[in-house]
């Protein structure tokens, strides 16, 4: 990822130079053709942003492109009488962006995995848009299109407009590249890899997706704005499914993670297709087969093939800039859970049913103490389900859960995380494609990064005092901070995930078998760090464990769960001696 940044920069420089020289080299007519595909390439960049970098696919991107084009055509024609209409041109970007934002919020609002439905809905939207464009011929010119669109004031579509388009497409590429390197871009990348985990750091992932979609839509609208004066005519084919499909194919072949790749593929394949399409009737079918192959076997597309070639000379373009270290801002104490009050957790008569199974059956539990409390119980007792109910993964049908007087029983995961409740999963859940340093950064950003900071580069260098002390105790993580988290060993990943949870500086930690799969030595090391963190933060922690030696070492309060209820609680010695608990563990029934 890091070296591809420099490669991208080199590619951008080369392409910019090439683009600006085009009219001189190939003449105005070919430049006109290339300009068209540059515009379409900007739309493809919008599709690629959402698909390759955030993880959802829009099958109807032409809606935003066409909307921008029709608006632009209307305004330019009206401006011939009233030049003031030109001031409304920004609508070509703003209206698509607004529609995109609202649509994404609606579809992604409730469920995490609505991706495929989103694609379907955008497809339907494209169909509807082309139907509307055909029907309201008074506004759009109907099937024959909106004709006689004048030039963009100050330009000539066959000569100077090319340079405007070239500069805009270079600018768009540069903006997309910068976005991907900003904190927002890293958050998007994390979202694509592990959306649920990102939510547990307090980020509203639905909103992040909506922002990406809106930006892509705005870019498409901008392309449409220039398309209308460039072509002089806008027909419904610019807004329908056929056009939308083209964008997806170009994004797949060019490389959906690379704005440069998306632009290049559109221009190259677009020009080639335009000349070959009429000669070979099976050309489109062939393109579709290449698309399937790209999806199945070459997710990086052309840019993945080209990038290694650029990486070598890229080092000479510019040395990598080092980031200035900066103290992270204080945690947003917006949560009324704040300050130094003893964390107070209360579960009241919580019921969760799945079909006929009573996962939690009137669970009542209260914890008002600092330090670690253990949660034990046989299989199916409801330990993990209790954590799930507390952190938005499972909705309680009945009952209430209070944390520091805030009700969390039916809150989504990110809102619970904003109350400074941190969750560690049994199977280590990190962002496998990001490096260790970025994983830890995201944890540091939890509840500290405000939307104002999304585009600044300063947050990339944040550190916290607590974080420094924590990491000094986990040398395994400091060895190679640029290593991708997915290539770490199981033990290292468990430690990384715990470090991320601790960096959040939570008031309550929910730790689900944090030492699962670790060797005895690693277990000891991690448990020491856990104990130190909980002490240092003055936090409360609930720890699910089976390991007897770990329980003995911790020696705190113990809760015993059985069949979705609290069976017993007390000190470990008490629990061991309790005949009820013995019976449950040795196979008897309550």
């Amino acid at each position: 990822m890091v070296s591809s940044r420099a490669a991208n920069r080199l590619a951008l420089v080369l392409i910019s130079a090439a683009l600006l020289l085009v009219p001189a080299v190939v003449g105005d007519f070919d430049a006109y053709q290339i300009a068209l595909y540059l515009l379409l390439g900007i739309v493809t960049q919008g599709v690629a942003l959402c698909w390759g970098n955030v993880g959802f696919l829009c099958l109807g991107q032409a809606v935003f492109f066409g909307l921008g084009a029709y608006l632009s055509g209307t305004l330019l024609r009206a401006a011939m009488q009233q030049p003031v209409m030109l001031a409304l041109l920004p609508l070509c970007l703003l209206l698509p962006a607004a529609i995109a934002y609202l649509l994404a919020r609606a579809v992604f609002g409730r469920k995490v995995d609505n991706g495929p439905f989103f694609s379907l809905i955008t497809l339907a939207l494209a169909m509807l848009a082309s139907l509307l464009a055909n029907r309201f011929s008074g506004l759009t010119g109907g099937f024959n299109g909106m004709v006689d669109i004048p030039d963009l004031p100050g330009t000539d579509r066959y000569a100077t407009l090319y340079y405007v388009i070239a500069v805009v497409s270079i600018g768009s590429t540069w903006i997309f590249c910068r976005l991907l390197r900003s904190p927002l871009g890293i958050l998007w990348s994390a979202l694509e890899q592990n959306e649920e985990r990102l939510q547990f750091f307090g980020f509203d992932t639905g909103r992040l997706k909506a922002i990406a979609f809106a930006i892509g839509a705005a870019a498409s609208g901008l392309a449409g704005l220039l398309y209308a004066p460039h072509q002089g005519i806008v027909t419904p084919s610019a807004i329908g499914i056929g056009m939308s499909t083209q964008f997806v194919i170009w994004a797949a072949i060019g490389g959906r993670r690379s704005p440069v790749g998306a632009l290049a593929a559109t221009v190259i394949i677009g020009l080639v297709s335009a000349s070959l399409r009429d000669r070979y009737p099976f050309w489109e079918a062939l393109m579709a087969l290449i698309f399937i192959a790209a999806v199945l076997w070459f997710p990086q597309g052309l840019s993945g093939a080209v990038a290694p070639w650029l990486r070598w000379p890229a080092r000479w373009v510019r040395p990598s800039t080092s980031l200035t270290e900066q103290q992270a801002p204080a945690l947003s104490s917006g949560a009324p859970s704040g300050g130094d009050a003893v964390p107070h957790l209360q579960l009241q008569d919580v019921h969760v049913r799945r079909g006929a199974v009573r996962i939690l059956d009137g669970l009542a539990l209260e914890s008002r103490t600092r330090g670690i409390c253990c949660v034990i119980g046989p299989n199916g007792a409801g330990k993990t389900s209790m954590f799930n109910a507390m952190s938005g993964r499972l909705t309680a049908d009945r009952g209430e859960i209070w944390f520091n007087s805030q009700s969390i029983a039916r809150s989504p995961a990110w809102r619970v995380a904003q109350l400074r409740i941190g969750r560690k999963f049994q199977i280590p859940s990190v962002f496998p494609g990001l490096c260790v340093r970025h994983n830890l950064l995201i944890a540091l950003w939890a509840n500290r990064l405000s939307p104002r900071d999304y585009l600044r580069s300063a947050p990339l260098g944040w550190h916290s005092a607590f974080g420094k002390r924590l990491l000094s105790r986990l040398p395994l993580l400091q060895q190679r901070p640029e290593l991708a988290a997915g290539s770490l060993s199981q033990g290292a990943r468990q430690m990384l995930e715990f470090a991320m949870v601790a960096l959040m500086e939570p008031r309550l930690m929910l730790l689900d078998e944090p030492c699962a799969g670790l060797s005895p030595a690693e277990t000891q090391q991690l448990m020491e760090v856990v104990r130190w963190s909980v002490d240092h933060l003055g936090a409360s922690a609930l720890l699910i464990e089976h390991d007897m030696s770990a329980l003995e070492a911790i020696g705190g309060h113990v809760f015993v769960l059985h069949q979705g209820q609290l069976l017993a609680q007390g000190a470990l010695a008490q629990i061991k001696a309790s005949p009820e608990v013995r019976k449950v563990y040795l196979g008897g029934r309550k």
Partner: protein
């Protein structure tokens, strides 16, 4: 007395989920007419062992030999035809199907006659034949799962906590059924935490901890206290 015929032998088995190993080089043999019990607390790897042996998950390394044939890459649905039956610990029945359908799903015809003996022992099951299995209690579902697997003709049955949630009187009957099957030459490998059931059924015990066998010996060599110590809090 004839030597026991080894049916299933696994050697240095390493298995787990994703790239995390849960079993660390376990080995054992199950012979015809023998019931081997695997005991240990939650999370030590009992279910993982049974899943690896039943073909549900692929082991990372190690070998599994069944009746002299090395098992490698067979599809999970072929195991029953090979003679190995499996009853999982969770999701033990088909909730959406009727009890009758649950029992006859694996057969070509839908003949309930072969269950006559089982219905004598567990009349409650017979009364629930047309009902959907999903409405039954956890213990009743386990009973249904047990009756189903006992009706399969294979030489070895892998049972994952068959007595969990079952009423004590029925557990005793289950033990009886297993003893009768053993006398006919059937072999069993069961993961359990119910000591009474283990003592009444097993010939050999494997104690598991942290994915390894920490003890392996005939039942007679264990005292009840020793077993309890391995299981209790």
């Amino acid at each position: 007395m004839t030597l026991p015929v080894p049916l299933l032998t696994f050697d240095n088995l390493v298995a787990g989920y994703a790239d995390t190993p849960v079993l660390h080089r376990v080995s054992a043999t199950v012979s015809a007419g023998q019931a081997v019990g695997v005991i240990g607390r939650n999370g030590v790897g009992k279910s993982t062992l049974l899943r690896a042996l039943a073909g549900i998950i692929r082991p990372f390394s190690g070998s599994v030999v069944w009746s002299g044939q090395v098992l490698e890459g067979q599809a999970a649905y072929a195991y029953r035809a090979l003679g190995m039956s499996y009853a999982p610990q969770e999701r033990v029945v088909f909730d959406e199907l009727s009890v009758a359908d649950n029992l006859t799903l694996g057969q070509a015809d839908r003949d309930l006659a072969i269950f006559a003996n089982s219905f004598l022992l567990f009349p409650r099951l017979q009364s629930r034949l047309p009902q959907k299995a999903g409405v039954m209690s956890g213990g009743e579902k386990k009973l249904l799962s047990f009756v189903r697997i006992m009706s399969e003709e294979g030489a070895l049955s892998l049972l994952d906590e068959p007595s969990e949630g079952v009423a004590p009187e029925n557990i005793a009957l289950m033990a009886q059924v297993i003893q009768q099957a053993k006398a006919r030459g059937k072999a069993f490998l069961l993961a359990e935490q119910n000591i009474d059931f283990l003592l009444s059924v097993c010939d050999h015990l494997l104690i598991m901890d942290h994915g390894e066998f920490v003890a392996s010996a005939p039942l007679a060599q264990f005292s009840r206290e020793r077993i309890e110590a391995y299981l209790a809090v």
